[in-house]
């Protein structure tokens, strides 16, 4: 049964999912979803948060069974009651949170649970290392050694270990859930290289991503899900970004980056020679009222650390911070908050929200002083605060008493934004404001940012997405290794100029070598 990997879907696809239905108490997660993937095909799954992508891949990887419908591998129906069944059927899944043992070596991680055996049940270490080296060689990975401890590896290398682990188990179907979410651009190109090699070997790759450009770069076909239903399956060459967005959200998104030109006012934040070793070195810049300043840089260049130093999480060792002209010495987030600084952190789940608590409680968390009198919380005032926030930011929630962790990523992000704006800040620091949220919510957050700037708020936006930086910013600062290395006006900023400043020329030379 050989098929040409470059042709259209063959008669018997490697993986076929037929009319899957799945309900959770009170939610219809999937209703009759079908799709298939051929040998050597990269099939992208696209959809807003809550569209059912995660449920679908969890069914295919045996995390939970479907209510109705079937999964076929090579034309044969398989019963995927447990993750182990999926592994046996040749299906491997690489989740966003990599499931590795940081204290063990690369080889041990790859062969965890299926190590080659010598006599008496002993592990054959030599065979394990040889097999690991063979796997590394087969994907032409030369900067990873079998005996390295995984905890010391970069995110990109850890992901490669997970891929090798899947291959060591003879996976023929590889599911990747947002594999590039935490990768640097360099690692993304390497990941694509590996995906192309897997494709050439006849592995079917199910690729889940929010980033449309990646889908066009790597996928053969794309299936769009919306509200648990199958909307369309298209060949990538037959479609374009605008059509996919429309299929995903069921409406047209007018403009992704509606930054209005507004009058720029007085400086709100002035930073001079700010230092906090090891990742903030000699940083100076200014953000003015009504201005959106984009802060660009590679992962690890010190952008979030700079933001957290300004916000008082890791107070500065040296240097000057002025808020509206007044010199201040910020030692804690509480103090930063009282000075009118708001920080929407990069990691919603651990830094931005208290997920097990309710919408009402999260809205008031940073503004308790506004709804409490003499330390006693006025429930009525608190409900009003949260209710106003929900209306203003169009948060989709059943009630104020809804547990925040159950909302979609976009709605969670709106709550983080809302809880900080409840304090009426002068300076808003946004750290990856649209990471991991769907296109519709992203557009809304961009629209809000534009409005806030128009109302005279000063905004410092950290973002790893260049189109977002280019679209939203009045000015762009670029950080590398803890320093600000370049500044561009809106007119000067291009993908190339920012990219070059981010990498630094000597790093480029290294990579070419």
């Amino acid at each position: 049964m050989t098929t040409d990997p470059h042709g259209d879907a063959p008669a018997v696809p490697l993986l076929a999912v037929r009319a899957i239905e799945k309900s959770f108490p009170g939610v219809r997660a999937l209703s009759g979803v079908s799709f298939d993937a051929a040998r050597g095909e990269v099939h992208a799954l696209l959809g807003e948060n809550g569209a059912g992508k995660s449920t679908l891949i969890k069914i295919v990887s045996g995390v939970f069974p479907p209510d109705r419908g079937e999964v076929l591998v090579n034309g044969k129906q398989v019963d995927l009651a447990r993750p182990d069944d999926a592994r046996r059927a040749g299906i491997a899944t690489i989740y966003q949170e990599l499931l590795l043992f940081p204290e063990l070596t690369v080889a041990e991680n790859i062969f965890m649970g299926h190590a080659p055996r010598a006599g008496l049940g002993r592990i054959d270490w030599r065979a394990m290392h040889e097999k690991t080296n063979a796997l590394l060689a087969s994907l032409e990975i030369h900067d990873l050694q079998a005996d390295r401890v995984v905890g010391s590896l970069s995110v990109g290398n850890r992901q490669r270990v997970e891929i090798l682990r899947a291959l060591s188990q003879d996976a023929r179907i590889l599911i990747m859930d947002e594999p590039t979410a935490a990768l640097t651009e360099y690692d993304v190109t390497r990941l694509f290289d590996i995906v192309r090699r897997l494709k050439a070997r006849g592995v079917a790759v199910i690729y889940i991503s929010h980033r449309l450009d990646e889908i066009f770069a790597i996928a053969d076909r794309v299936t769009v899900l919306r509200d648990g239903t199958h909307v369309a399956t298209k060949r990538v060459i037959d479609t374009d970004a605008a059509e996919l967005v429309q299929l995903m959200v069921g409406r047209r998104i007018e403009s992704l980056f509606p930054k209005m030109t507004v009058p720029i006012g007085q400086p709100v934040l002035e930073v001079k020679d700010l230092e906090r070793r090891p990742l903030t070195k000699n940083v100076s810049f200014t953000v003015r009222a009504g201005e959106i300043v984009g802060l660009s840089g590679l992962v690890g260049s010190g952008r979030s650390e700079l933001a957290q130093t300004i916000f008082g999480v890791t107070p500065a060792d040296n240097g000057e911070i002025r808020i509206s002209g007044q010199q201040v010495n910020i030692r804690s987030p509480a103090q930063a908050r009282s000075l009118g600084i708001a920080y929407v952190p990069e990691d919603r789940g651990t830094q931005g929200l208290v997920r097990p608590m309710t919408v009402r409680e999260n809205f008031s968390l940073a503004a308790l002083g506004k709804v409490a009198f003499g330390g006693f919380i006025d429930r009525g005032a608190e409900r009003k605060l949260a209710g106003d926030g929900i209306k203003r930011f169009a948060v989709k929630t059943s009630s104020l008493e809804q547990i925040v962790g159950k909302l979609s990523g976009g709605n969670q992000q709106k709550i983080v934004l809302g809880k900080w704006l409840a304090n009426e800040p002068k300076l808003l620091i946004l750290d990856e404001p649209t990471r991991g949220i769907d296109v519709g919510a992203k557009a809304e957050i961009h629209r809000l940012m534009g409005e806030l700037a128009a109302q005279g708020l000063a905004i410092l936006m950290i973002s790893s997405e260049l189109p977002e930086v280019l679209g939203m910013s009045d000015r762009v600062l670029v950080m590398r290794e803890g320093r600000i290395v370049a500044e561009f006006s809106r007119e000067e900023a291009t993908q190339q100029s920012i990219g070059a400043a981010m990498m630094g020329s000597h790093e480029n030379a290294e990579k070419a070598a």
Binding site: F24, P333, T350, G352, P356, E361, L365
Partner: protein, 327 residues
């Protein structure tokens, strides 16, 4: 797509308050009361119940701040040793230093607060996990108590001092009033104030609480200090009730206290819990002990029953938790 219900519209078959841990526990308590009352006519009498209230006060006073601490995801294992240390210092400062008894009481309360403050300062500044810090001070404070007392007990307190531990006020044991006031105050603080809200936020997500500008370290310092202070108060009540001071007082209290708090539905992982739950947990343990003893069950069998009840309640709690989270 409009016919697809959203996740949060899940229908509830039973009202939420019935599914609450505290309510379930209160129902179990009621059933146990009726059964034990049926088995023994002396059990369900006002005199007996009030007397049980007297006996549970010392543990109860400590269980209230412990509820705060466990809600933040912390623990304080040193409370039993603080009771011992405060009891010894109460007797010692009165008898040996010759302090007037009221001053000696203040001194012992102050020592309790200082002992808790030391726990809190090391936990928040040096970032030593509460479990380890308070295991260390469990040994340290007990060692101090034994070293100071040199196995001598102090007796012969003035008559008025026994009022709090042995007399009645308006027909109710005097120390029970103390406990009732403490219950009402802590319940209001936990449920209605920004301080209480901060405790829940810390327990559910300490990083987010910090990033929201909540005074995380200050609040932690306050609750560990409060825990020490209440252990000191508990020591005074205990000494007044048993009329003597010995260095082994309060041994094992930490386990009774934590058992009552956890039985009352406070999650040992933090973020969840109420004062009412702790109160029901306290009542449950004390009344089971007493009811079983009156019915002729031996002491060791009573401990087995209490252990079993604790395991069962944990099972109920975790199944409720899963249902809430919709897993």
């Amino acid at each position: 797509m409009s016919e697809i219900p959203l996740p949060h519209t899940a229908k509830r078959l039973v009202p939420w308050w019935l599914l609450r841990h505290e309510t379930m526990l209160a129902v179990i308590l009621l059933i146990a009361l009726i059964v034990l009352g049926g088995l023994n006519s002396r059990f369900l009498t006002l005199d007996n119940l009030l007397n049980q209230g007297r006996l549970t006060t010392e543990v109860g006073l400590i269980a209230l701040p412990m509820t705060f601490i466990i809600i933040t995801g912390g623990i304080d294992l040193s409370v039993g040793s603080i009771v011992g240390l405060c009891a010894i210092l109460l007797g010692y400062s009165w008898k040996v230093f010759g302090l007037p008894l009221p001053l000696a009481i203040c001194f012992s309360l102050l020592v309790g607060a200082a002992a808790g403050f030391l726990n809190g300062i090391v936990i928040t500044r040096v970032k030593v996990p509460p479990l380890i810090m308070t295991i260390a001070t469990l040994a340290l404070y007990r060692g101090l108590a034994e070293g100071i007392s040199q196995a001598r007990s102090v007796r012969g307190y003035p008559e008025w001092f026994y009022f709090i531990g042995q007399e009645n006020l308006f027909g109710v044991p005097a120390q029970l009033w103390l406990l009732l006031i403490a219950i009402v105050v802590t319940a209001i603080v936990l449920d209605r104030t920004t301080f209480g809200r901060t405790l829940y936020a810390i327990g559910n997500n300490e990083t987010a609480a910090r990033f929201s500008g909540l005074p995380v370290d200050r609040v932690k310092l306050i609750i560990y200090t409060l825990s020490g202070l209440m252990a000191g108060l508990s020591a005074c009540v205990l000494v007044s009730r048993v009329t003597t001071t010995r260095s082994d007082m309060g041994i094992g209290y930490e386990l009774d206290v934590i058992a009552a708090v956890v039985l009352g539905g406070t999650s040992i992982f933090g973020g969840v819990g109420t004062i009412w739950g702790t109160v029901v947990g306290l009542a449950m343990i004390q009344l089971l002990k007493n009811g079983l003893a009156l019915t002729g069950v031996k002491g060791d069998a009573t401990i087995v029953v209490i252990g079993t009840v604790l395991i069962l309640s944990t099972l109920v709690a975790s199944s409720l938790q899963r249902r809430r989270e919709g897993v």
